[in-house]
């Protein structure tokens, strides 16, 4: 058998050394073009999504309104675009970005291609905590919700880790099975909460649980945006640790990494998922499928994978939100249902391919 041709590393990688910052990193040559294409697609979806609705606005006018170039105020474009449509759509992008990066981090740290904040009970822990705060305390400041969600999610993640941890044997399978069981317990507790809640709040909670960005305003966006502003850069800076961790525990130790310490990166993933849950409820499968698709686009190195996952996740969730608004108009499907309907078959395909690949 002939050896595969050795590729020139310069053809695959490019090194980036910003003068002003004390960092340098390598990117796959495909990362920047792919990122630009994703960004363009995301903008396209954003404009289409803003233009679609009961009061349609031509895409060009949307663009003009967003850029502040409208001269004609008679048609209320400003109001519709800035107050009603843009907040939820931008929020969908941010939630998708958070979930995409959360999933990529989780799959990287656990080296488990099927890991997903939704599947491992993390989202359920977050929604249980957030919903109990929402239902049982009056007038909670919105900015506090992510903290509640984060503590619930962290608790759930710790519980799973402790229950699944055993010396020897493959922990990934146990992790998934125990995540499924914990998810069932948390779902039962959620149902309990809902049963005892005020009946007027139940319908609302029901929608929230299915994951929705309906009726969200700029305050929601700022709440999540603040968390992302802190968490995303830290995640990107951790790329190198994740790459090393992906070589396996022994190689990582051999390269001088403190493996157990690096596992703490999972906290970042949990925090991202929890912040997303706090503003939009549980939205499943995004964290699972986004990293798989972006890995195909930009390769497994996390320097490219994480930003690409953020862009692709954001675009996917905006698209899912658009589909949810369009498919049974004038009513709308919560975006979480749309992602489950798209994501579940993809997950099964992954499961199938894993066994045959």
């Amino acid at each position: 058998m002939a050896n595969p041709p050795v590729e020139n590393p310069r053809a695959v990688w490019q090194t980036i050394r910003p003068r002003a910052l004390p960092i340098s990193f390598r990117l796959g040559r495909r990362v920047i073009p792919v990122a630009l294409i994703l960004l363009a697609l995301a903008s396209l979806v954003l404009i289409l999504s803003v233009s679609y609705g009961e009061y349609p606005i031509p895409p060009l006018d949307v663009l003009r309104t967003i850029l502040g170039l409208t001269t004609d105020n008679a048609r209320n474009y400003d109001l519709v675009v800035w107050t009603f449509r843009l907040p939820r759509i931008v929020l969908a992008f941010l939630v998708g970005a958070a979930l995409g990066v959360s999933g990529a981090l989780m799959q990287g740290v656990t080296r488990n291609p099927l890991a997903d904040p939704g599947l491992l009970g993390v989202s359920a822990g977050a929604s249980l905590a957030a919903l109990s705060v929402l239902l049982y305390f009056d007038d909670v400041a919105l900015s506090l919700l992510p903290f509640a969600a984060f503590s619930g999610a962290l608790l759930a993640a710790l519980l799973i880790y402790v229950l699944a941890w055993r010396q020897g044997g493959s922990a990934t399978i146990r992790l998934i099975l125990i995540g499924i069981a914990l998810e069932a317990v948390l779902a039962a507790l959620l149902n309990l909460l809902i049963i005892f809640a005020d009946i007027r709040e139940v319908q609302q909670a029901f929608v929230w649980l299915s994951g929705s960005v309906n009726g969200r305003n700029w305050e929601h966006m700022q709440t999540l945006g603040l968390w992302l502003l802190i968490l995303l850069p830290i995640s990107f800076l951790a790329s190198r640790q994740l790459n090393v961790l992906n070589l396996g525990d022994e190689s990582a130790r051999g390269l001088g990494q403190r493996v157990e310490g690096a596992r703490l990166l999972l906290t970042l993933s949990v925090a991202l998922a929890a912040a997303a849950v706090a503003v939009s409820g549980t939205i499943g499968f995004v964290g699972l499928i986004v990293p798989h698709i972006t890995r195909r686009l930009v390769g497994p190195a996390h320097e490219g994978l994480l930003p690409a996952s953020a862009l692709f996740g954001g675009m996917l969730l905006m698209l899912a939100d658009l589909i949810g608004r369009w498919v049974i108009a004038p009513a709308e499907l919560p975006v979480g249902l749309v992602t489950a309907i798209i994501g579940a078959p993809y997950f099964l395909y992954l499961l199938y391919r894993q066994r045959h690949g």
Partner: protein
């Protein structure tokens, strides 16, 4: 169907005769079940003594208010709980034997989810249904979902391992139940009418619904008892079963139909209740060993007992309100699942 198991059963019989306490044990469990049922009937907003219950059952007096409560409210609920528990436990036992998967359960393998979706979709699209219509829809949904889950779970090398089946079950359930939720959200009338199909519950079941769904489950239970010897053989593995001259394809088909009857009937009556089929057969196996001729009847009685007691707990702990029994079962069953996943599943 030709089945030659005479030689096996001779050995089995010797094994069983060494455990002479099994039949008396079953009778003790039945007595315990009867007492639990009686206890459950006496509990509620109105104080009713066992004496009155006895009279209401044997000398029903339509003028007596207590008798009326017992016959129209308490009895249907208690009977529904018992038959649903028995059906789900036996369905779980059959599935665990059939798929040799210790984690098999109608809730986990998507069967309950499929049945619930079929019922909700039927009510949404067709409007009000005759009571047996719920059951028929539920069977259809249960059947389709179980075929899909088993098909996906057994793809590829290694066949249907517990992990693959469980994952396939969870994902298919997530997929189907998002359609169920979508239907419920689109139509608020349906939401009111069939809301309990999102959480299993026993409250408010009418005698008529019980009478129209119970026969299916009773047929399933009887079938399970009749087929119990074949289940034992098939639980030893496909090769063993074939080597013993069993026509495994037919047996698998019949057993799958029995599971459909049992789980579908249970969902039609009480909505999706998980974990009963997981917990009960495992506890029963600790007690009676690997012979399904004992596992099936013990599971039936044990499942009925578990749901009856669970329902009593659900009504007592937060009086005067009550919990849906599905929630109690999840809170009891999921930790048990964790125990199994941690210590009993090798791959």
């Amino acid at each position: 169907m030709t089945v030659h198991t005479n030689r096996v059963s001779a050995t089995e019989n010797r094994l069983i005769s060494a455990r002479g306490w099994l039949l008396p044990g079953l009778l003790v469990c039945l007595v315990a079940l009867a007492l639990a049922l009686l206890w459950s009937i006496t509990l509620g907003a109105a104080e009713i003594t066992p004496q009155v219950v006895y009279e209401a059952l044997l000398h029903y007096d339509a003028e007596n208010y207590d008798h009326l409560i017992i016959q129209t409210v308490r009895l249907p609920r208690v009977l529904a709980g018992a038959v649903v528990g028995a059906a789900l436990a036996v369905a779980g036992a059959i599935m665990q034997g059939l798929t040799r998967n210790p984690l098999a359960d109608a809730g986990l393998l998507g069967i309950n989810g499929g049945a619930a979706f079929a019922v909700v979709a039927g009510v949404t699209l067709l409007g009000a249904l005759p009571l047996w219509g719920y059951a028929v829809l539920a069977f259809g949904g249960a059947g389709v979902a179980s075929v899909i889950v088993y098909g996906i779970g057994s793809m590829g090398r290694g066949g249907a391992t517990p992990l693959k089946l469980t994952l396939a079950g969870v994902i298919v359930t997530a997929f189907i139940s998002s359609f169920t939720t979508a239907l419920l959200l689109m139509n608020e009338e349906t939401l009111e009418q069939v809301r309990f199909w999102t959480v299993g519950a026993l409250a408010g079941r009418e005698m008529a619904l019980f009478l129209q769904t119970a026969p299916f489950m009773l047929v399933g239970l009887a079938g399970g008892l009749i087929m119990s010897r074949q289940i034992t053989t098939i639980s030893l593995g496909e090769d063993v079963a074939k080597g013993l001259g069993q026509d495994t394809r037919w047996i698998r088909l019949v057993l799958a139909l029995l599971v459909m009857l049992l789980a579908g009937g249970a969902v039609a009556l009480a909505g999706p209740i998980g974990f009963i089929g997981l917990v009960v057969p495992h506890l029963v196996r600790l007690l009676v060993g690997m012979d399904y001729r004992w596992i099936i009847p013990y599971s039936a009685v044990g499942g009925a007992l578990l749901v009856t007691v669970g329902d009593v707990i659900a009504r007592v702990i937060i009086r005067p309100q009550e919990l849906p029994v599905g929630i109690v079962m999840a809170l009891v069953g999921a930790p048990f699942f964790i125990y199994l996943a941690r210590w009993k599943v090798k791959r």
